[in-house]
Structure formats: structure tokens, C-alpha cells
């Protein structure tokens, strides 16, 4: 039997998903937060967190997703991510666009390389990009899923 869209995938999948989704989210958050120290960064971490969202969509079905998904909120958050990125890039506009003034002059994020509070605007940008990628990918996937529903 073909699974109909909008419905969930059964108890086993739902239970495992409930257990796994927080772990995926935490791992994604780790990748985003350590983007300036280890391989990874905003896009990779954001895509990982979006993977948790997509797992939710697949396991619990579109109807359940609709309750937790607000289109306006997600697109506003996506815009907010972009704005924070742009703001971080503009902090050093006195010298040049994208000038890393936090790293050169402080007051925060100018610690020793290798520590969490270092690398100037890079952690801020990673967080912003992570937010943007997460909201963007989830929105895209939900839009495509809804589309299929809408057709039938």
C-alpha cells in the first residue's frame, strides 16, 4: 500500500524519531557554534538541524508539521539571519566592508585562537547563517511537501 501524504509513518519510526531529533539538533548546534574552530560552520550545521526538521516532517507527517510550522515566522527568521550577517559584515565599515573589527579591536570575540570566544565576527556570522539555512531549508521542504498535498 502506498503511504498517503499527510499521514505519519507508524509507531516505531515515530518513537525513534522522537529520540533522535534532539540529538541531531544538538549536533547541528555544535557544528554551528564551533564553525570557526573545527571543520563545519553555518551552512553545514544549519543543514544538519534542518535534517532534524525534515525527519520530523517525514516521520510525523505533514499534518503534524503544519501545527509546528508558521510560514511568516520562518521567513521572518530567515530574513533576520541575513540581516545579522549583513550587520556583522558592516561592523568594520569604517575600514572596509567585511573588515573583522571585532577580532582586531575587541571588545568581544577577540580571544586566543582556538578558544570559543575568538575569531571576531565569524561566530556571529556562523550563527546567522545557521539560522538562515535551517529556516530556509525547512521552508523549502515544507513548501514542496504541501504542494504535493495540494495537488491531490
Amino acid at each position: 500500500m502506498r503511504p498517503r501524504c499527510g499521514t505519519d509513518m507508524g509507531l516505531i519510526v515515530k518513537t525513534s524519531a522522537r529520540a533522535i531529533i534532539p540529538l541531531i539538533g544538538i549536533f547541528g548546534a555544535y557544528i554551528v557554534a564551533h564553525g570557526h574552530l573545527t571543520p563545519g560552520g553555518g551552512f553545514q550545521g544549519g543543514a544538519t538541524i534542518a535534517g532534524a526538521g525534515i525527519l520530523f516532517l517525514v516521520a510525523f507527517g505533514l499534518n503534524e508539521m503544519r501545527k509546528h510550522y508558521n510560514k511568516h515566522l520562518y521567513s521572518a527568521l530567515e530574513g533576520l539571519g541575513g540581516l545579522v550577517f549583513l550587520g556583522a559584515a558592516m561592523l568594520g565599515i569604517g575600514t572596509a566592508f567585511f573588515y573583522n573589527t571585532l577580532w582586531h579591536n575587541g571588545p568581544i570575540f577577540n580571544g586566543k585562537p582556538g578558544t570559543l570566544l575568538s575569531a571576531g565576527f565569524l561566530p556571529i556570522m556562523n550563527l546567522a547563517v545557521g539560522l538562515k539555512v535551517f529556516t530556509g531549508l525547512v521552508s523549502a521542504l515544507v513548501a514542496i511537501a504541501m504542494y504535493r498535498r495540494w495537488k491531490s
Binding site: A76, L83, L86, T95, A96, F97, F98
Partner: protein, 527 residues
Amino acid sequence: MNGEAILPYLIIIPLFGAFSMPIVSLIGRKAREAWAVIISGATLAVASALFYSVWEDRGIIVYTLGAKSPLGQGVSFPIRIVWEVDLFGAIMVLMVALVSFLAVVYSLGYMKHDTGLDKYYTLIIVLELGMLGIAITGDLFNFYVFLEIMSIASYALVAFRNDTWEGIEAGIKYMFVGSIASSFILLGIALLYGQYGTLTMSYLAVKLAQNPTVTAKVALALFIAGLLFKSGASPVHMWLADAHPAAPSSISAMLSGLVIKVGGVYALARLLFSIYSPLAYKALRAYGYPYINMNTVGWAIIIFACLTLIIGNAMAVIQTDMKRLLAYSSVGQIGYILLGLGIGLAAYGSHTGEVALAGAIYHTFNHALMKALLFLIAGVVIHELGTRDLNELSGLAKTMPKTTFAFLIGAAAIIGMPPLNGFASKWLIYESSAIFNPILGAIAIIGTAFCTAAYVRVLYTFFGRPSERVMKAKDPEASMLWPIIILAVAIVIMGLFPWQISEKVMLPAAKALEDQLAYISAVLGGA
């Protein structure tokens, strides 16, 4: 005015506008529309100031991202992303900002009945952003990123009306062709990076002149193939004739007026003159070093240009769909621009080449105005009558006099009638091509004959006996009428001072494009 200080705002303002659009549109419809107009208007102001600054100083503005100087610490080559604007780039920036602003204003009335408009305005600003970025960038990968921003926004906008099959089909065709072309360009960039280890255009030019290898030639072939795809040159122009009519008319105006020029011809000119330079070819050949033969490249572009010119204009004659006719006419006019570019490359160093290049730049600007005007008028006709079939538009002049008059101006300008702006630019191209090779001059004239036939046919329909359907039509509302009036007035005013503009702006722009040494030393600082 200090051009260097305002250059980043050319990118910051549209980026800010695009990112804040979802938040602003939560307030309401009016706020969103006002925001789009404010953002594109502010971009236009910055672009005008930038153009004035570059034009006044006759210099090249270099802006480094992330630091004061593009050179790395303790090394003498650039390691950072640079933006580099010469007069040619500044003209493109002004053109993009002007036409985009008018298209946004026009959209207020034209797109009133559509849904999903927050995405529409975001995409239109992103499209503008991509084109501005291409015009100002001095870094190859940065160029690719802006090219893709522009391309993705235009794929989405072509398919914006996804409840019609026409938009979807055109969008899919456009997207596949455009993605393949982008892949070619990326492959070319990867090959150049692998060979020379740098992405800064000016430093790459130095490295290339020192050691022109086979890899560089392959990369050049890939670049030319990809960018001819993007500019809609003849063997691969089919996507253009599908995509431009299917888009909403304000987008058609931007696609036909701007995207194929900035993303195709401008990028091609930048690559051919500032990276692979005919100057280096001449010098290396004179001293017996290995070289890349830019003369052959110039002739290859001339051949493509002639094909494009004939096919595009000839196909325009037999169309019955008004927007399709205009799209084919765009193909034909791209042929003229490419012809000027090819002659400028093949006859590099002579006065003929310079005049041809000036003509190409002039015609790029003129055609952006003319084609934007004509597509906006086509949009008005669709908006009022719901059809764009020429057989049903007979006698439009009676009920839509202002619109028809504006169309008359646009058509006369695109044909090249003397008191309008198209005359001067076409004349420069005819003149230089006739001096360079009389056969090319003859081909250019034949193309114009076809073009005249196509537009006379449309005008004949407009001034013909009114059909019943047309009687209900009237001139459009103010937000749609004013962009048309502004464009028509700009065409007439530019037509009044053709030689002054060509002397004061276009010839210096051609000189700036030809002067590769100034382009290089602006970044490397004589190092």
C-alpha cells in the same frame, strides 16, 4: 565625491532590502511596495553618484573587502576579494539601477492582482543585486557567485506565474540551459585557478601574459561558450525566445534589457579585454613569445554576431506574438553589440576598434532603455486587453494614444531613426564595421532591414482599423505610465546629444576597457 566610500553601499542597500523584505511585508502590502521602491531608489542614487565620481575622475575605483589593501601580508600579490570599477563598469551600474528602479515602480500597478508578492519583490531586488555585483567585481569567483545569484533569481522570476504552463515550461528550459552554461563557466574558473593559483582578475592577467598555456585556452573556450549561452547568441538563442515572453512584463524588461547584457556581453568583454588581453597578444607576438591569438577569438565572436544578427532580426519579422517578437528583436540587437565587441577585439589598437567598442557600449545602454520601454508597453497592452496576439491588437492607437506614441518612439529608436538615441550607437557600429570589413557592414544593414520590417508591422497593426476588442482599452494608471514616459523622454533626450555622449562617455569607456595596464596597476599598485 569619494567613489570608494560609496561603492560598498551599492551591494549593501539591495542586500539589506532583500533580507528585510520578509519582515517588512509582515506589516502590510503598502509597506512592502513602498520598501521596494525606497530600496531600488536608494540604489539608483548610489549608482548615479558612483557613475558621476568615476566619470569625473576618469580613474578606476578599487575596493578591497576586509582590509585596506588587497595585497597579502609580506607578499606582493593580491589575496583578497577586490571590487574594481572603471568607466565601463560604472555605465553598466547606472543602467542596471535605472531600469530596475523603473521596473519596480511599474510592478506596483502591473503585479497588483498576483499573489506571493513578497517573494516577487525580494527576487527582483536580488536580481538587481546580482547584476550590480557582476558589474563591479574584480574577482573571478566573486563574479561566478554574483552570476549565479542573478541567474537563480531570474529562473525563479521567469516561472513566477506558476499557475500557467507557459511560465513553467519556459522556466525549466531557461534553468537547464542556464545551469549548463554556469557549469561551463565554473569549470573554466577551476581550470584557471588550478593553472595560475589566483582568482583576482588583474593578477591573473599578469600571470596569463607571462605563461599562456593550453589550459588557459581551454578555459577561454569554456568561458566564451558559457557566456554566449547566457547572452542568447544565435545557435543557442532558443531559450531566450521562450523565457523572455513568458515572464511578467516588468521582468521581461529586466531580462531583455539588463540580464543578457550584464551577465553575457559585459562579462565576456571583461574577460576578453581585462584578463585575456589583445594587448598582451600583440606584445608577446612582437617579441616572439608564446601567445593566445585574440585576433582569432575576435573573428569567432564576429561570426557568431553575424549569425545572431541575421537570425534574430529575421525571426522577429514572422512572429505574431508581440512579446516573442520583442524577444527575437533582443537576440538581433545582441548581435550588434557582439559585432562591435568582436571588431573591437580583432581591430585592437586601431581607431576603428575603439569606435566599434564605443558603439557596442553605447548600444548596450541604449538598447537597455529601448527594450525596457517596449516590454513595459507590451505589459500595458496585456494588462488592458489580456492578449498579446498581434492579430487582435489592430487599431490600438485610437484608444491608447499615449502608449502607442511611446511605442512609436521605442520602435523608431530601435530601428535607428536619426533623432533618437539608437541612431548614434548603430551608426558607430555600421561605420566601424564597414571600415573594418565591408561585408560585415552589409550584414549589419541587412539585419536592420529585417528589424525595420518587424517593427513597421507592429506599428501598422496599431494604427490600423480598430477592432471591437480594442475599443474597451484605455491608457494605464499612473504607476505604469510614468516609467514608460520617463524611458521615452530619456530616449529622446539622449537622441538630442548623440555625439556629445559618445565623445564624453562612451569613447572614454571604450578606452578604459582597452587599457588593460591601468586595470592591472590599479590593484597591484605598480608592484
